[in-house]
Each structure stands twice: as C-alpha cells, then as structure tokens.
C-alpha cells in the first residue's frame, strides 16, 4: 500500500494477564468493562470505503445510492453466491454496504469483507451455547452484560486466561500474536528472569554517572505542553532553569526508546529506584508473578492486517509492556496493582455488583488500571495517551499519524481528504548532511494563545519562557531565523518544535513566503468547507471570504503576493495563508527541474574528447619515442588506433565490447601515465569537479583522468554508466524517491500486451536493430539527441562533462557551435541568450551549487534557504538558466 493509512487503531479492548505461582494464569483486568463479544466484532464490521464521499461530495449521494442500489438488488447475497465463490461475495457485499456506511469515528476498516463468512462465527456461537450453556450470544450478553463476570469478549475467562499466557520463556519480549477468527490479540509477554529479577542487575557506579547525565538532560524535558485529551498530566520535578546545551529528545523520541528503559533508565530517579528493587525482590523468596502480558485486542481489516498489528505492537504494546516491566522491576508495581485489582474484583463479584460499578472503583484505586483505561480511550480514538505510573515516571504513547503525503490518491484508492499534500516532507536519501528542520518553519496547528493558555493552565513554572518561544514562532520564518532573531538557542527551538510536532500541535513546513505560489490543494477536504466558512469569517472578518480566497488560489497559479492588495495587508494575508495551510486547504506549488543536455553540447563534448585523445596520443607517441622499448612503442601504436575506435564504440550506444585482456593491460599502463601527467600538468586542471567526484557509478580510474583536461580518455566502461540506452537507464535511474511515488503498474497497453505480448516488443526491437549502426563518430549534433540528466549528483563522467560544459556556456560564447548549428538548433535562444556578463559569471561560479537541485527531487524554492543565498539572486540565476533553455521545469506540490 503506497498510501498512508488513515488513522484507525481498530482497538477494541486491552487485557492484562498475569501468571503467578499462587494464582496461575489470571486475567487481571480488561478494559472496557463491557467488551464486545468476539462474534460481534467479527460481524459488526462496517467495511467502509473511506473518504471518497467527502471528496466527491456525495455524503448525500451515498444515501441515495444505497437506497436505490439496495432497492434494485435486495437479493444481492443470493445472487452473489451463485455468481462468485464464497469469499468474493463477502468482499463485494461489503462494498455495497460501504456506500451507505460512513462511520468516521471508530470503525473505519477499509477491507472487511474478506474475512469470509461471518455467519460461521454466529453459527459456532450457537453451538457453544448449546454445548456449554455459556452466554456468548450478543443479545443475551446485553441483558446480563453488566453482571456477566465470567466472559470477556464472549470467551470464558478461564479459557482466555490460558490462551493468553504463553507457556514458556521463548515468548519473552517477543511479539505475541494470536488470531481468533478476525480478531487478533497482540501482546508483549514479559517473563521474570531466571534469577527471579525483572531486570539485569547493574553496578552501582554506572548508575551514578548515568543518573547525572540523565538529570542534566531532563532539564529541558520540563517543557511540556498539555494535550487536551490526556487525562493525567505530570511534569517532572527538576531544575527547569538549568539549560544544558545538549539536545534532548522529547519523550518517546529517544533513540532506541524502550530499550533505554530496560538497559538504561530514562531518568535519574528511575534508575536510582532500580536499586531498591533489587533489594526488594531479592529479599522475597522468589517472585510470585512469573509473567505478565498486556494484550491489545484488534480487529484489523484483512488487507491492513499486517500494518495495523505492527503499528500497534511497535508503538504501543511493546513500549507499554516495557514500561510496565520497568515499574515491576522497581517495586513490583504490576504484581502489587494486580493483586489490588483482583481483590476488588473478587469482592465486587461476591457482592453481586455490576461490572461498571466495580470498574469505576478499580480505576479510581489502581493507577495501573487507570493507565490501561486512559490508554484504551486515547488509542482507540487515535489520540495520544499520556500515561503516568507514578510521580517519577510518565510517558506518552501514540500511533504516529502521517501529517502529509506526496501522493494524490486516484479514484480507486482510499481517500484521505484534508491531508496535507506535499513533497517537502519526503526524505531524499542523498541529503544526509544538514538537518532540514532548521530550514523549516513551524506551523502551529492551533492559535498561539490557545497553546499558551493551555500551557499556563497546566504548568508549574517557567511558562513565560515557553510562552515567549511559542509567541515567536511564526510560519513565515525558518527555525534558524527565529533562533537568530530572538537569540534563542537553536537546540531549544528545535526541541520545542519536535515536541510540538510529536504532540500533533504543529507541523514543519517550508517557510511561507509571499513570493511563493500556493494553490488550492487537490486533496483539500471539501466536505469540511461548509463548516470552515463561518470559522474563517469569525477569524478574519475584514478579509475576503473563504470561498473568494480559495477561488483566487485555485485559478492560474500566481505568487501569493499578487493577491495581497497593499503592503499593509501583507501580515493579515500571511495569517490567512497560515490558516489555510493548517487546514490543508492549500499547498505550496513547488518547482522542480532537470538539466536538459542539448545535442550541441554533446557534440561539443565529444569533439573535445576526441581532441584530447588526439593530443594524448601525440604525447604518448612522443613519450614512446623517448623511451627505448621498441616493442612497447609498437603495441602502443596499434593501441591508439584501437582507442579511437573505442570512442566510436562509445557513441554507438548499443554496442558493448568486452575488453580483451590486452586492452585492459594497456589501459592500466595508460592510467599510470595519466597519473604522471596529472602530476606534471597539475596546473591545467580545468574546473573544480569535486561535485562529481566519488559517485559510486563511476569507475575509479575516471577520478584520476578527469582532473586533467588533456588526458581524459573515455574508457570502455563509460557506456555502461551512461543512461543513454534505455535498458541501462532503467538500471541506473533510481526509482523516483518517495517510495510510494513510483508509477503505477497499471498500464493502458496491458490489454495489448496480453493479447499479443510480443508484438510491441518486437517493434521496439526492430527500431533498434534497424537503426543503422553508425559507421564512424561524426561530431555534428544531428547524431545526438538531447536528453536529461536525471541526477547531477550521480552523473556519469560523460554527463559530468556535459554539465560542466553547460556551466561554461553562461560565461563564454561559443561561436563555433553557434555558427555551425544555429539552423538545427531547436531553441535558438540557447546560445544567443545574452546573459549579462556579471550574471553569467555568477551562474558559472554557482553552477555546482545549483546543479544539486536540478534532480527533480529538490524544490528550487529550497535553494535560497539551504544555501544561504538571497532569494532574488537564486531566482535570477534560475530564470537565466531556464531562459537559456537548459532546464526542464515542472511544478507540483
């Protein structure tokens, strides 16, 4: 699945199971108290086609369609059974019901129908009723549900207990995944160690230093903004004023989070307490509890099964279990709480109390139970659960949600209207250097004052500092600029940013700028428009109405500043833009470019190469003459002839001559010469080629040869790295970076292929074989076809030559080319473009910098900020380059 999944946890219950020597397997606690029966979960699926209704505007339409479709096909189930096999009917049936079903709240599974016949479960339940006399049936459960102490999820408690307690330690810290029909129990069983401890004993000395370090790091961790959904807010007591320079990860973002809690405690207090545990637990005569397992009950749709389970396990289940284990190690937390819960339950059960009453009591008494309840409420609603176990330990849990996608779903794909559409968040593998965050701006998803107020309502100290930060965060300035302007440490601002992003209060965006272009996002949630109009109107009463704004932004793309009537309006309009950005209404139209290499350049470079080869040849001859070795001279003479035929082989792209051993030997020898040459002619280095150095695709010998303009010889291996012939291009051209963004496999010519699979292929081959093999390398541009350099950073040596050549054109005129080829030149402006001398030199100078961005993956809008060059200058260069016809430019988000 290439699209991000819409947030849907599919969580339906959380169970805590323990295994102890005294009580055996025991289901200690489950939440919610009245769990849906497994059969109900299986059959109550609301398989939904999510999202599309809003985007195509058919909230009402769905009603209508359901009514008319339904009326026309009432016996649909029967028809389907006749028509298709067993399982497909489920799928299709679900598709139909989906049209009418639109429960956005919780049940938003996307592919429910595939689970086969749901009736089988009901049938089985009926069987069970007969057999065991249990009340598993939905209706009966509802009657006696609140007093039904013996079943959970429609299963007998004792049976469930046994199933959820894995037998041996081989399950320790592993994913426990048990599927019963289409519900799945995901747990992370934690076993006690063989020595009776819950964690490895550590030497005391380590702990000290660690503690100090942690304490220092915790200084910043006080910055804490309350989430409205979280029930418990705890701020770590600590010296909030001591600011350390080191960057502190927000909670849950620590590298190797989770492991840290086992091997290295996340906070000083915690690790200190760890030592108490040891004494505690060792004093006991072996631990009573040998295992506990927190089990999350999900019913993911079949197609999303693996991902949903993985998300839940990785982000919530495992982390939570580890946190519990940590607490258990400290002071038998889990077992103590479990005993407490079991006691309350037993008492309530004996008294004949209702479940909900008992649960009320349990949650109020036991922090563990409360944490499970909080966890369930938050996670099942796709929110962030902020759990705190005690005064010193608290941590948030969430299943991360995508905040943007580069991928616009088509009509057949699940829609996520309102999701921010952009490529700016796509990580480009090549840039592993500078952290991008500091060039981004922070877009608060709520008003600053709301956030500040929330903070003040919650905070105990130093809110003023945070409020100061928050108030200075503007979406029009990058974090770097803000930190410079307000003299805030970059680490602090980045910490706040990451924190806000984690808590879904902010998003990193490219800084908003009036000169940038913004359009109505194709992924905007039009269904929310009616609600947004009044909200917008109250927010910006004096500005043009929302519909007008969107209408303006949806026409021909123009820089945003053209919409701003006067300079005084500028700020207000930028606020509007931020507001629109926040709601996913607009997205930036970004510019992407590739370098287009014309035939002239190719011819020119080829000519140059030939000339160089000739010079080299002459030089070699001279050298040979000086040397006494006649036989070598002879072989070199013959070799040079062959070499010139290499050149022709280069140009005939289709040919690939295997190097004979003889040739290879000579090549090595030549290379030695080249090295000599290089030492001799070090002063003749043409241009800084560092930008192309070390590209892995290039043979190492190239590096040696390219630096000297006179000795460069195209080696036979060059053609294999040139992305000229299509087959090679496929190998070399990396799949377009955002992994979801590869072209879809669906091809319009598929039908053709299926019918006559070889036909097109044959044709294709014909064009190749029929094309007359070029007899000799003519250097006129006609023999070359213009092409694009897909990634200048990974250019082959020949491509690098081309690019370099292009870089020079801004400076120098090429009378030779211009004269001979102006007739065939498709774009006569190329060489005649009178680039101002100063500008031309500037471009040539900065050409390597610009080249980095001409790969179709980097937006040209980012250059200015990243390279620290004035915006205007950069655009001046780009415009000049573009006008000269060297760029293929496309704009998208």
């Amino acid at each position: 699945m290439s699209l991000p999944l819409p947030p849907a946890s599919n969580l339906h219950a959380i169970l805590l199971v323990t295994k102890s020597r005294s009580l055996g397997p025991r289901l200690v606690f489950h939440y919610p108290p009245l769990s849906p029966s497994a059969a109900a979960l299986a059959s109550n699926k609301a398989p939904a086609w999510f999202g599309n209704q809003t985007s195509t505007g058919s909230l009402d339409d769905s009603h209508s369609s359901s009514s008319d479709w339904g009326s026309s096909t009432e016996n649909e189930g029967a028809d389907d059974d006749i028509e298709a096999g067993s399982r497909t009917s489920g799928g299709r049936g679900s598709g139909r019901t989906s049209a009418s079903h639109r429960d956005r709240e919780k049940h938003r599974p996307s592919a429910g129908g595939a689970w086969g016949r749901q009736d089988s479960i009901d049938e089985e339940d009926a069987d069970l009723d007969d057999d065991g006399g249990r009340k598993t049936n939905g209706s009966r459960k509802n009657q006696g549900g609140d007093y039904d102490w013996n079943t959970v999820l429609g299963f007998k408690v004792d049976a469930l207990e046994k199933m959820l307690c894995p037998a041996n330690r081989s399950f320790n810290k592993r994913r426990f995944e048990l599927g019963v029909e289409n519900i799945v129990f995901v747990g992370a069983p934690m076993f006690v160690r063989e020595d009776g401890l819950w964690k490895k004993a550590r030497r005391k000395k380590d702990k000290r230093t660690l503690e100090e370090k942690q304490q220092a790091e915790n200084a910043l961790a006080n910055l804490h903004i309350r989430h409205p959904d979280e029930k418990v807010v705890h701020r770590r007591e600590g010296s909030g004023s001591t600011r350390t320079g080191s960057f502190v990860y927000p909670e849950g973002f620590e590298p190797g989070y989770g492991h840290g809690m086992i091997s290295g405690a996340p906070s000083g207090a915690v690790s200190e307490a760890g030592s108490d545990t040891r004494s505690n637990s060792t004093t006991d005569n072996g631990p009573d509890m040998t295992m506990f397992n927190v089990v999350f009950v999900l019913n993911p749709p079949a197609l999303e099964y693996q991902l949903r389970v993985k998300y839940m396990y990785d982000n919530v289940t495992r982390k939570y279990a580890k946190a519990l284990k940590h607490e258990q190690a400290r002071f038998q937390y889990v077992w103590k709480e479990s005993k407490k819960i079991i006691n309350i339950k037993q008492r309530a059960k004996d008294n004949g109390d209702s479940l909900s009453m008992a649960w009320h009591e349990i949650i109020n008494t036991s922090p563990l139970a409360k944490s499970i309840a909080i966890m369930f409420d938050a996670i099942s609603n796709d929110k962030i659960a902020h759990i705190h176990f005690d005064a010193t330990f608290n941590t948030p849990f969430q299943i991360p949600q995508p905040d943007s996608t580069p991928y616009l779903p088509n009509a057949l794909e699940p829609q996520m209207p309102g999701l921010w559409l952009t490529t700016s968040n796509v990580i480009i593998e090549e840039d592993n250097d500078a952290p991008v965050a500091q060039h981004s701006a922070l877009l608060l998803l709520e008003d600053t004052e709301t956030l500040v107020k929330e903070l003040e309502g919650d905070a105990k100290g130093n809110t003023t500092a945070i409020a100061f930060y928050l108030r200075n965060i503007v979406p029009t300035k990058s974090l770097q600029k803000i930190s410079i302007k307000h003299n805030i440490l970059a680490q602090h601002i980045e910490y706040i940013a990451s924190h806000l992003v984690y808590w879904r209060r902010a998003r990193l965006i490219p800084p908003l700028h009036p000169r940038d272009t913004y359009i109505l996002s194709p992924n905007a949630d039009m269904g929310a428009l009616q609600a947004a109009i009044p909200a917008y109107a109250t927010r910006f009463p004096t500005s043009p109405p929302l519909s007008k704004m969107l209408s303006m932004l949806s026409g021909k793309p123009r820089p945003y500043r053209t919409f701003i009537p006067t300079n005084e309006h500028r700020e207000a309009y930028m606020d509007i833009l931020a507001w629109l950005m926040r709601g996913g209404w607009v997205t930036q139209l970004r510019t992407f470019a590739w370098v287009r290499v014309t035939a002239e350049i190719k011819a020119e470079v080829a000519l140059e190469l030939e000339r160089e080869a000739a010079i080299k040849k002459a030089e070699e001859v001279r050298r040979q003459e000086m040397s006494d070795n006649d036989s070598l001279t002879e072989s070199m003479f013959s070799g040079t002839d062959k070499r010139s035929s290499f050149l022709s082989a280069n140009r005939e792209r289709e040919r690939d001559r295997p190097g004979t051993p003889l040739r290879r030997n000579r090549r090595e020898r030549e290379r030695e010469r080249e090295l000599d040459d290089e030492q001799m002619d070090a002063s003749t280095i043409l241009s800084p080629r560092t930008a192309y150095r070390g590209s892995p695709a290039r043979p190492a010998s190239d590096a040696g040869s390219t630096s000297s303009n006179r000795t460069t010889i195209p080696l036979p291996s060059v053609p294999t790295t040139r992305p000229i012939s299509p087959s090679q291009a496929q190998v070399q051209a990396k799949p377009h970076r955002p992994s979801p963004l590869h072209l879809k496999a669906a091809s319009p010519s598929r039908a053709q292929n299926t019918r006559s699979p070889t036909n097109a292929h044959k044709l294709h081959l014909n064009t190749h074989s029929l094309s007359p093999s070029l007899p000799s390398p003519p250097t006129t541009p006609q023999t070359y076809t213009p092409s694009l350099v897909s990634s200048p950073q990974k250019a082959s040596s020949l491509e690098a030559r081309w690019l370099e050549k292009i870089g020079q054109t801004f400076q120098i005129q090429h009378p030779h080319i211009a004269d001979t080829n102006s007739a065939t030149n498709p774009d006569p402006a190329i060489h005649d473009a009178v680039v101002g001398v100063g500008l031309g030199e500037e471009i040539t100078e900065n050409w390597p910098i610009l080249l980095k961005y001409f790969d179709g993956k980097h937006a040209l809008e980012d250059i200015a900020a990243r390279e620290g060059i004035k915006r205007k200058r950069v655009w001046g260069w780009i415009t000049a380059v573009r006008e000269a016809g060297w760029l293929v430019v496309v704009r998208h988000w």
Partner: protein
C-alpha cells in the same frame, strides 16, 4: 499470491492419554523432528510451546486460530467432535498450515484451512475418515494401549481398511501443499461423494462507489475471453460500451440499462481490477502534473510506452489524416474521439480503449512511416500542463509539438499512470444564507419525481425542461442524442398571452433550475457531476449557476 508461500502442512491429533501429537507433517521434520531421510534438520516451529494453540480448550475449537512463532504464522482450525463413540466422547484434531509471518494476504490461507477443517469434520462424522485410518495404521499403537482405537472401530463396526497404502491424510497434506504452492488451487477427489476444492483467492479492497460521471476503462480485454465472464445481464450489455471515453451514465444510456445497476456492475469490474476509473475527457478540462511526474521524466521505459500509446495511427477516417485533432467544444470532440476509437471495435468486437487500434494498424504495416515521438517531446508536453490552463489553450500553445499525437490518449496515459490529475471545477455558493440541507441527487431519479411542489398544477409546457433535467438519468438511449434547448418551450404553446407566458416560464424555469442546482453548490460536486446529472454542457451549467446566486468557482 506469493509463490510457494506454504512452508508446511501438518495434522495434529489430541489423544486423551498421550496428549497432542503431530501425526502427519509435510515436509517431514518441519514441525517435530523426524527420522525420515528427507526430513528437515530443524523444525520450523517449536511444537511443544504451541500445542495449547493447536489443541485449545473447547471454547476456541471450531474457530480459525492463528498465531505467530519463530517468524512463522501457523494457521489452524481446531475441530472438536463430541460424540459418544470416541473415548472421552471427544475427537480433537487440527489441520494447520504454516506460512511465513510476513505474508500480507494470509487470509486466503485462513479460508483454505477453515474449509479443510470443516470438510474433515464432515468426513469424520460421515464415515470416520480420520479415526478409521488411525486404527488401520496403528498410529497410537506404539505403546500398550493399542486397544483404544480398535475398540472404537469394533464398536462402530467398520471394516478395517487395507493397511499399507499409506495414510490418506498424509497424502492430502502433501497434495494440498504442492498444489496450492504451485497452482494456487487444488481439486482432490476423496470418495464418491466428497471432493476437495480449494482456491486461494487474493483479497481485494472494497471497491469505491461509482459515480455516474466517471469514465471506466478496461484493463483487460473481456470480450476476447472465450466464456462469458458473468451471467449478469447488465454487465454483458455494458461491456461493449466501456471504452475509456463514455461516462457511466452515458454507458447506461447507450446500453439501455438501469443506471444504478450499471454502477454496480462497474463496481464489480473495479473490484476485480478489470477497470480503471478516469474522468470525462474534454478540452475544457484542466490537468496538472502530480509529484509522480518525476518518475515519468527519468524513466525512459515509460516514455516509450507512452509514445506507443499516444501516437496517432496513419488512418484515413474520412476526416483528414492523422494530424492533431482539436475539437472546439467538449461534446463535439468527444464524439469525434469516440468514433475514432470505436471504429476498430466494430471490426474486432473488442471494447478496450487501449493500444489495440495501434496494434491493428501496426499489423497492416502502416506504422513504419510514423515518426517516433521522443521522450523529450512528451516530457515537454506533460510538464507544460498546469493548473489554470485548459486543455484547449494548452493544445494551442503546443500545436507544433502535438503533431501525430492523440491528445486524449496523451492525457489519459498520464492520468492512468498517476502523474497527471484532473483539476476539477467546483462551485460554492457565497450567499450568506446557506442553502437548506441538500436533497439527495436521486430525488431526480424517479421519472416523475416532482422537483417542485408547484409542479402539479402547472401547465404541461414545462415538460420539456423537466425531462431535460431528468434526461441523463432516464434510460432511453434515444433521448441522449436529442439536443436540449432549455428555454424554447414557450413558443409552441398557445392560450396564454405570449408575453405573460414567457415571463411565467422564465420565472418557473428559474426557480426550477435554481432549486436542483443549489444542492450542487456546496463545493463537493464537480462540474462533471453537474453536467452529467443535468445533461447540460459546462457553459449552460455555469450560466444556470450564475443565475442561481452568488457563487465562487474553485478549481481543485
């Protein structure tokens, strides 16, 4: 379906004294160590730690149970038969399949296991298929309690089957594993009345709702299939009209089928991946590149595919040779295009709007003189598409580059590949008072649904406009071709004074036009939808909308 996804199949039985035991496993040694020479050296999964999930308590029997261990997913369907003839009145077994944990679509295997479990249960209940074999092979005989099975057999009075032919259950495991791994299906006759039929069905996502204004395009040639694909009459009727040009409602008209049934039929095709959904092509439409355009630019292979797809074949169609064809209006051009591409359909009785025309012409050898469309040209064309630029003006801008290129196919190719998207146009009412909750569009569906309460006591002359409003949704193909002029009805009438009548008319039509339109003005209904529902061209709709009140137009 991943190939050879099933790593092992095994059959577990629970013996009241000996506990759970794997009786059959394929391959040998995959679950429990085996002395067989071909056995796997180490079992895939630790059997001892998972027996409680293979043979669970009764609560969990007769359900599909899966669990993961050692990076394998074990899918079992434990069956517990409670009958007096067995010792302890229970016969518990589990026929389970092992696949790798990461197999995404494991549900298909689950369905096979479930079916197998039920089937074995049936076989056992009918004739002791499982228990008899155990007795015959003396599986539990390794110890002294040999008498158990025999006693059962004797009590029930079965003949002991011939021993030595090998276990039938083992053979089943073996065959199922091989067949499902190699062919994704199997058919194994068991006896006169029972046959095992399995097929691994891939799980498909639920299909999206189909809207009347969407344009289906077949991805496979359904008509070339030898057997009819379905007994669905609607489906059979509409398939010839699915060509990537006609919208769903147009197809319904052409095929004379019910629109809702048509939608449903197309939904079925979508579900099975036979159909893609496009938008209505018109030269007034706007297309722009998506982020995936980069893939097209850098991938020469796609470029070549595109060049093959968009090239106009050199054909004499009676209206000039294959240059670029620019329709002036959407309707006209659409007709032109459709006739162009439906020409070969007449010949070949195929309906795919794919590269087949090209194919047929290539066969005739008319292809050679077509010049190649370079990747660069295509890149230039695609990258020059942008928001706010109608196709018409784009064509005019790029006239010289478009020689020999079929514009519709060029656009369609981009949309199919996902590097172009259609920028739809929406209208939202900017009037301060919001319209009442919109009526469902299907209020128009019924042939005589009154759109206006005053309809009944009004003279007949509004019939024209009435039917026109309903036209695309009624299913008479003849009506589709009639051109509709909304405001010409007054002329033919007599009785009332001309002037008054016209005023009344205009008032009525205004009201009538405005009312159904209001529901489209919430920004959720694109112009394609409105045009399809109202059966009007975009211009006419726009005019109507403008009359309906203050509106803003959005392109999205």
């Amino acid at each position: 379906m991943p190939t050879r996804a099933i790593k092992a199949i095994f059959f577990t039985r629970f013996h009241y004294e000996k506990g759970s035991r794997v009786l059959h496993q394929v391959p040998e040694g995959s679950i429990t160590p085996s002395s067989s020479p071909s056995a796997l050296s180490t079992p895939l999964i630790p059997f001892s730690s998972i027996t409680s999930y293979l043979i669970p308590t009764q609560q969990f029997c007769d359900r599909l149970l899966t669990f993961c261990t050692n990076h394998y997913r074990v899918i079992g369907y434990p069956v517990c038969i409670r009958e007096g003839k067995y010792s302890r009145n229970e016969f518990i077994f589990n026929f389970a399949v092992v696949i790798e944990e990461g197999v995404g679509d494991w549900v298909a295997y689950g369905e096979v296991v479930r079916k197998m479990g039920k089937l074995l249960r049936g076989l056992e209940e009918q004739g002791g298929f499982l228990s008899r074999e155990e007795v015959g092979m003396g599986i539990w005989d390794d110890d002294e309690d040999k008498g158990w099975q025999k006693a059962v057999a004797r009590e029930v009075g079965w003949d002991q089957g011939p021993v030595g032919g090998g276990s039938k259950v083992y053979a089943l495991c073996e065959m199922i594993l091989e067949d499902l791994n190699n062919y994704c299906e199997c058919m194994i006759p068991i006896d006169d009345s029972n046959t095992i039929n399995f097929k691994l069905f891939p799980t498909h996502p639920p299909p999206p709702p189909i809207h009347p204004y969407q344009v289906p395009l077949l991805t496979i040639s359904l008509s070339s299939l030898t057997s009819p694909i379905s007994s669905d009459l609607t489906l059979i009727r509409i398939i010839p009209f699915i060509n990537g040009i006609h919208s769903v409602s147009h197809i319904a008209q052409l095929a004379d089928t019910d629109i809702s049934l048509t939608r449903k039929a197309i939904q079925h095709l979508v579900y099975y991946g036979c159909v893609l959904l496009l938008d209505i092509f018109s030269f007034g439409a706007v297309y722009a590149p998506t982020a995936e355009i980069g893939g097209f630019v850098t991938d020469k292979g796609v470029g070549e595919e595109c060049a093959r797809y968009v090239r106009v074949p050199r054909v004499e169609l009676g209206r000039g040779s294959g240059g670029i064809q620019i329709g002036s209006g959407s309707e006209k051009s659409r007709d032109e295009r459709s006739s162009l591409s439906s020409e070969p359909q007449r010949n070949d009785i195929t309906s795919t709007a794919t590269a087949m025309e090209f194919d047929s012409y290539a066969r005739r050898g008319e292809e050679e003189d077509c010049e190649n469309i370079s990747h660069e040209t295509l890149i230039g064309l695609y990258t020059s598409l942008r928001q706010g630029l109608t196709l018409k003006s784009w064509v005019l801008e790029n006239l010289d580059l478009l020689a020999g290129i079929d514009v519709r196919r060029l656009i369609t190719f981009g949309v199919i590949k996902g590097f172009l998207y259609r920028v739809h146009r929406y209208a939202i009412s900017t009037a301060s008072s919001l319209p009442p909750p919109p009526l469902p569009p299907t209020s128009l569906l019924g042939p005589n649904a009154p759109t206006n309460p005053s309809n009944n006591n009004i003279n007949v002359k509004n019939h024209d406009s009435d039917t026109a409003t309903l036209r695309p949704l009624t299913h008479k193909p003849s009506m589709a071709s009639t051109t509709f002029v909304p405001r010409d009805n007054g002329v033919r009438e007599s009785g009332l004074k001309h002037h008054d009548k016209e005023r009344l008319d205009s008032l009525l039509t205004e009201e009538r036009d405005a009312l159904p339109l209001v529901r489209f003005l919430d920004g959720m209904h694109c112009f394609d939808e409105m045009c399809t529902e109202l059966g009007l061209g975009e211009k006419a709709v726009e005019e109507k909308i403008k009359r309906a009140g203050e509106v803003a137009f959005l392109w999205r």
